[in-house]
Symmetry: C2
Subunit: 205 residues, 2 copies
């Protein structure tokens, strides 16, 4: 439009939702998907067992250890890590295709993985999810029947380490108890605001 006051350079965003184990990343993603948002939600590949409320191909691609190793060998993963004994990886081609189609891309990933994405793509939009207190996080981890006292101690030690990485994230969002909708409202506000930036992020991947 030649008479626009200013040409907008609309660039798709690469939105990374991260934070400690137990903070509610999966719940946030499920809530976001349930809203009518024009984003591509990355389906992560994982070797961890499917939880009862999860759907293969939507929440995750649940694959075998052998399939996972093959993906690594064929360089099909943008990033991968062993998270508490389970492999997780971000399919590279899926993210590139979504960005190429002009869609904003949303992925959830552990804190170390988010740092890797920051290195691969400095203009990624990094959101750190947190509880307000350590006590809240412990409570959430305990409600997961899978936690033994040993694994709980391990996770908490990891959390304290992960908190040192907060400074490398763009935003720090509290996912308070029973406030999931408010958390996702905040994430939507962040994305909406980012799209009005005078200097849009230049995502190259």
């Amino acid at each position: 439009m030649h008479d626009d006051l200013r040409e907008r350079q609309r660039q798709p965003l690469l939105i990374v939702i991260s934070g400690p184990s137990g903070v509610g990343k999966d719940s946030v993603l499920q809530n976001m998907r349930a809203r009518d948002l024009p984003f591509h939600f990355v389906v992560t590949a994982t070797t961890r067992p499917k939880r009862p409320d999860e759907v293969d191909g939507i929440d995750y691609f649940f694959i075998s250890q052998d399939e996972f190793v093959k993906m690594i060998e064929q360089d099909e993963l943008l990033e991968h890590a062993i998270v508490y004994g389970d492999n997780k990886g971000i399919p590279k081609q899926q993210v590139r295709q979504a960005l190429a189609s002009g869609k904003d891309v949303v992925m959830r990933i552990d804190v170390q993985g988010a740092e890797t994405i920051r290195n691969i793509c400095p203009e990624a939009l990094l959101i750190f999810l947190s509880t307000r207190t350590e006590e809240e996080l412990v409570k959430r981890l305990k409600t997961r029947r899978t936690e033994t006292p040993e694994s709980l101690e391990l996770r908490l030690a990891t959390v304290r380490h992960e908190m040192e990485s907060v400074e490398q994230f763009d935003y720090y969002v509290i996912n308070a108890d029973n406030q999931l909708d408010a958390t996702v409202d905040t994430i939507q506000a962040i994305i909406h605001a980012e799209l009005q930036r005078t200097h849009p992020r230049q995502v190259v991947l």
Copy 2:
């Protein structure tokens, strides 16, 4: 709270709503004030005549030329300018007191004034309001009965000049025709997002 996962350094924001004459700054501010927002809205001093729907002490302090000169002489204005023949100025003490009380401060100001605020306070949050096209802006200026063909030409020349300053603003928000509520929703989203930043703005004034 000693067991917080991260100490938040909540800093009040200095939010500057700017943009060309006719874009709707006053309407945006009136709409924001009508919402239940916990901001301090700066009352600008001006020598321009009161419009019928405006209230002295709320929309502006409507003062005489003599009073305005006295404020300048006593260094009571953070910034002042002659905008199309009328003097406008931001009372310094008012802004400082509001920030000191911990409130986020919202002010509207012309584009040149916003640049001055940027120089005084590099961490101010600057929002540039715009119409989508020049045609929309002309239409709005024409509906103001005050506009003569000469003043319209002058204003448009100024707008073209002001567009060169957009890069110095943080956000560029389109205030489209009949979309005032959406515009203010966007401004609220920006402020909400800014409050979640890992590295909050450090406003020093």
